[in-house]
Amino acid sequence: MELAIYILALPLLSFLILGLVGKNLSHKVAGILGTLSLMVCTVIAYSVAVTYFGAGRSEDGLFPTLMPYNYTWLPLGGNLSIDMGVLIDPISVMMLVVITTVSLMVHIYSLGYMKGEKGFQRYYAFLSLFTFSMLGLVVATNIFQMYVFWELVGVSSYLLIGFYYTKPAAIAASKKAFIVTRFADLFFLIGILIYGYYTQDFSFTINESILLSASAVLPLALGLMFVGGAGKSAMFPLHIWLPDAMEGPTPVSALIHAATMVVAGVYLVARMFPLFVGYAPETLSMIAYVGAFTALYAAVVACVQTDIKRVLAFSTISQIAFMMVALGVCTSTDPHKGGLGYMASMFHLFTHAMFKGLLFLGAGAIIHAVHSNEKEHMGGLRKYMPITHITFLVACLAIAGIPPFSGFFSKDEILTACYDYSVIMGMFMSIVAALTAFYMFRLYYLIFWGKSLYEEQLNSYNSGIIKEKPHKPHEAPICMTAPLVILATITCFAGFIPFGEFISSNGHAYEIHLRTEVAISSILFAIAGIVIATIMYKSGESKLTKAINQSCKGFIKAAYRRFYMDELWMFITKKIIFNCISRPIAWFDKKVIDGSMDMLATITQRLADFVRPMQSGNIQSYSVWFLSGTLALVLILLYLM
């Protein structure tokens, strides 16, 4: 367990090295250094996982919660202090594994993807920084440490999104991402403050009596914390940053905006789960509703996007919403009595990380090949990129919830939990699941099937219509395809991991069993989605597609513009905050406050001009003043005193 600290230390070290002296290293050395350190990390993470779960449960049937390190970092007076440490328990170990795995894949992948990019070392430094902060976040021993790393994660995300700092869109996106999450973090912070004040502790394990005494404010505190989580996890309406964040390099999107950082919110809720269930069930339901709405919203929007990364981004939002819903629908800590969602959520987190990472990396490979994000430039790629094609298909099947891919199992558990909560919620989520299948396969077909742009261009080149010889799409190099294959393999088999053995809402082992009716219905829904997608997009855009497009043009347009959420936010920030608050304040400052200070000076000057005639140069008027002054003094003394 003591090794766990190295998981934190190594990425930090590699960040520092790469950040400080990276410039002097060659690209290769830097990349390998980063990858190697992460590889070691991954190994340690796995060994930690193995030893931890291998050590088995203690007498009370739980996996022990270990804290090999915990230091006071910053005392805050009274009992409060910010501690830094390492917390090992089932979910943190699970997260360690997920993060290191995906991160390692991304590191390896990036060796190929980012080859030759300017700032390669910087890229690896940031990746290491991100990994460090994310790991720090999951092993946090207390909510404040979590917040600390939460912020660091935000910053590294900011830096990575803005990696192409010469691209205006990237700059804007990074700024937006940071500010939106920061805005959410504000609520998180306030939640922490309330929590910390009433419990006099920031740790996750607080004894009952204190909690009871604070029970009045806990719903508020936890609700605020959820807002923070919602910001990171891109819940509606704070989701707006995530699609834009796709401006970053694609591996980064895979790592941060699909697999790891965005689930931080889910992790936060899971971390605070006992409190949520025990003291704030209403908040939990609210989470469920927000999650459900987000899931639907994102799924609908994903159906009409044309940028493949955008589609994936909305898909991510939708999937995370699934996890949130799963957590939200829990009504007790007992997995048998309404606490199933917790496990389901974690399970989905795990599987989703893998297949969504895979999807993004695959998308990256595609983009690498065609140098575009837009679907128009794709189509018919299956011939040129077989490995990518297969792995992408695996991932699509997984996300659509087709057995035996991992997505099926985890999603199935979520749906089960939803049905347990209420049938309406179950149905609702099933429909969203069907939509998921639809849009994923829409994407799939658009990319790999249909007419190949390259061939068209080649034809026109041959017939002399265009001068330039078109660029032929090619399969990615080995260091990019290898991670795809690895992840695809995991995706294929992860579903069979007895997840409930390790993680469940009350810590006791829980055996996953499929509920037949739910499983069947969900498969049917998924297949329906796939079939519709096949009909509509298999070979380019069919007539049906066009007809549908035609019939609900307005809706599609609205969905394409993400239901104008961005515009709304822009309106609020730009028009209201910037133009209506900040500008006037600046004006106020310049004119009124500054003006009033200047006014004092002006008044003084005016007064000076006013008294000036007194000094007329005429000795007689001087004497008049003299005598009048004297007389006035006499009168004042005689009558006013």
């Binding site: 003084t604 000076a608 001009d609 140069g617 008027s621 001087y622 004297t630 006499v634």
Partner: protein, 473 residues
């Protein structure tokens, strides 16, 4: 009839002897000897200061209570003398110029006679002696103001000064006559018990105050100040603004506490009003001035207002603060005037603020000194002015005049503004045609060095203040 009592008035007698020596020297000396006249005067004055400072450690009351001297008064006299020496030192260049050379002796004589007048102002314990002292201190000064006979401004300043002075002394005399009428005596010690604050006393007090207020140049008795300061020869302006004013303040303090002790409420009210008026109005005027001497006139009026903050206290504490303030004021103001005097001959039509543009580039030392002096006047630490101002505020605050202190403090900001204007001119403003580098003569240099030392060390070395405090009564 004990005429030996004359001999006991040490400072006066010694000064008088110098007066006589100079008189005779002026009459007799010719050619070669005249050239060392200046040096001789300075040496004599130094010797006199020494005499003044030593040997009068005890209190003396002479001529049936008409004359009184004690160590504090001796100290004040010494202070005034030192100030005069500094002024005389600075006067060297001016006195050697062709238009003044032949009346050098008169300059010393007139100056010394005013100094004698001030001595008697301080030591007088009878209104007649006081009045004669005041007249002795102001009439020859009028001659000094008009000293540059062939300069229009000097003549105009002279006539303005003498007429205002006559007017004010008439008013003051009128007041004194009523004091006499209601008290039957003009001896301070006798009057103190009789004065009670009846209307006629108030009337007399105000009129008397107006007379001294004229010399201190408090608003609204100040209007002559700017014109006279501007027109008078710079040396004389320096003398007027520092020595004459200082003596008047001392006198005022003594009279108020010794004679009008029972009417403290009334005169505090007067000072209250006049202080506010002086500081504020003088500051307002000073902002707009371009002629430096005129500017210094208003600055000195506002400084007078600050001095009044110490006077209003009316105790030994206030006296210490006042004496210390004036001491610091003397060195700082004389430093400024020393600089003005040094550059004056380069400026046609008086020294303007604009003439200082780029002064630092051409004359760093003088500009530096000037800056320190202005900072000291503005009350910026670590220069002496800060300390003196602080003590003055403290003493007024001690007497319970918080609002007064507050107004005065706000005014320091305005005063800082106009002092900084000059600093700005020297350091910041560019000038294609700045004042050429100046080489001061030895005497001026000595004088300025002393001023500099005073500005820097008077505050930091507390023993000066402590010793003054020990002397205070």
């Amino acid at each position: 009839m004990n005429y030996l009592e004359f001999l006991l008035m040490r400072p006066e007698i010694s000064l008088l002897s110098i007066f006589v020596i100079i008189f005779l020297f002026d009459l007799m000396a010719t050619g070669r000897y005249r050239r060392i006249f200046h040096g001789i005067v300075c040496l004599l004055m130094l010797a006199h200061t020494y005499i003044c400072m030593t040997g009068s450690a005890e209190e003396i009351t002479l001529f049936g209570g008409m004359y009184y001297n004690n160590p504090m008064l001796s100290f004040m006299k010494a202070m005034l003398t030192c100030g005069s020496i500094l002024v005389i030192l600075q006067a060297n260049r001016w006195l050697r110029s062709a238009s003044t050379y032949y009346k050098q002796g008169e300059f010393y004589i007139l100056m010394l006679s005013t100094l004698i007048g001030m001595y008697f102002m301080l030591s007088a314990r009878h209104f007649l002696l006081l009045f004669i002292g005041i007249e002795l201190a102001s009439l020859p000064l009028a001659c000094l103001v008009a000293f540059d006979k062939y300069r229009h401004h000097s003549a105009e300043a002279g006539i303005k000064y003498i007429l205002s002075s006559m007017f004010s002394s008439a008013v003051m005399l009128y007041g004194i006559s009523f004091l006499y009428g209601s008290c039957g005596t003009l001896y301070f010690s006798d009057m103190a018990t009789i004065l009670s604050g009846s209307p006629i006393h108030i009337f007399a007090l105000v009129m008397f105050f107006a007379g001294l207020g004229f010399k201190i140049s408090l608003v609204p008795f100040h209007l002559w100040t700017a014109d006279s300061y501007q027109g008078a020869p710079t040396v004389v302006t320096a003398y007027l603004s520092v020595i004459s004013k200082g003596a008047a303040v001392f006198t005022l303090f003594i009279v108020l506490t010794k004679v009008f002790a029972n009417m403290i409420v009334e005169w505090q009210a007067i000072i209250y009003i006049l202080t506010i008026a002086s500081i504020t109005i003088a500051n307002l005027f000073a902002i707009k001035q371009h002629d430096i001497k005129r500017f210094m006139a208003f600055s000195s009026i506002s400084q007078a207002g600050y001095i009044m903050l110490a006077v209003i206290n009316g105790t030994a504490h206030g006296m210490t603060a006042m004496v210390f303030y004036i001491l610091v004021y003397i060195v700082a103001n004389l430093a400024v005037f020393g600089v003005i005097e040094s550059i004056e001959h380069q400026c046609t039509d008086g020294v303007k603020r604009e003439d200082f543009n780029g002064f630092y580039r051409s004359n760093p030392r003088l500009a530096f000194l000037m800056t320190l002096a202005l900072f000291s006047l503005a009350g910026i630490p670590p220069f002496a002015g800060f300390f003196s101002k602080f003590f003055v505020f403290m003493s007024a605050f001690d007497a319970g005049f918080m609002i007064l202190v507050f107004i005065a403090l706000i005014n320091t900001v305005i005063s800082l503004y106009y002092y900084l204007l000059i600093v700005k001119a020297m350091f910041i403003n560019q000038n294609d045609n700045p004042i050429k580098p100046i080489k001061c003569d030895l005497f001026t240099r000595i004088s300025l060095t002393f001023c500099l030392l005073g500005i820097v060390f008077l505050g930091i070395c507390s023993f000066v203040y402590i010793n003054i405090d020990k002397l205070s009564f």
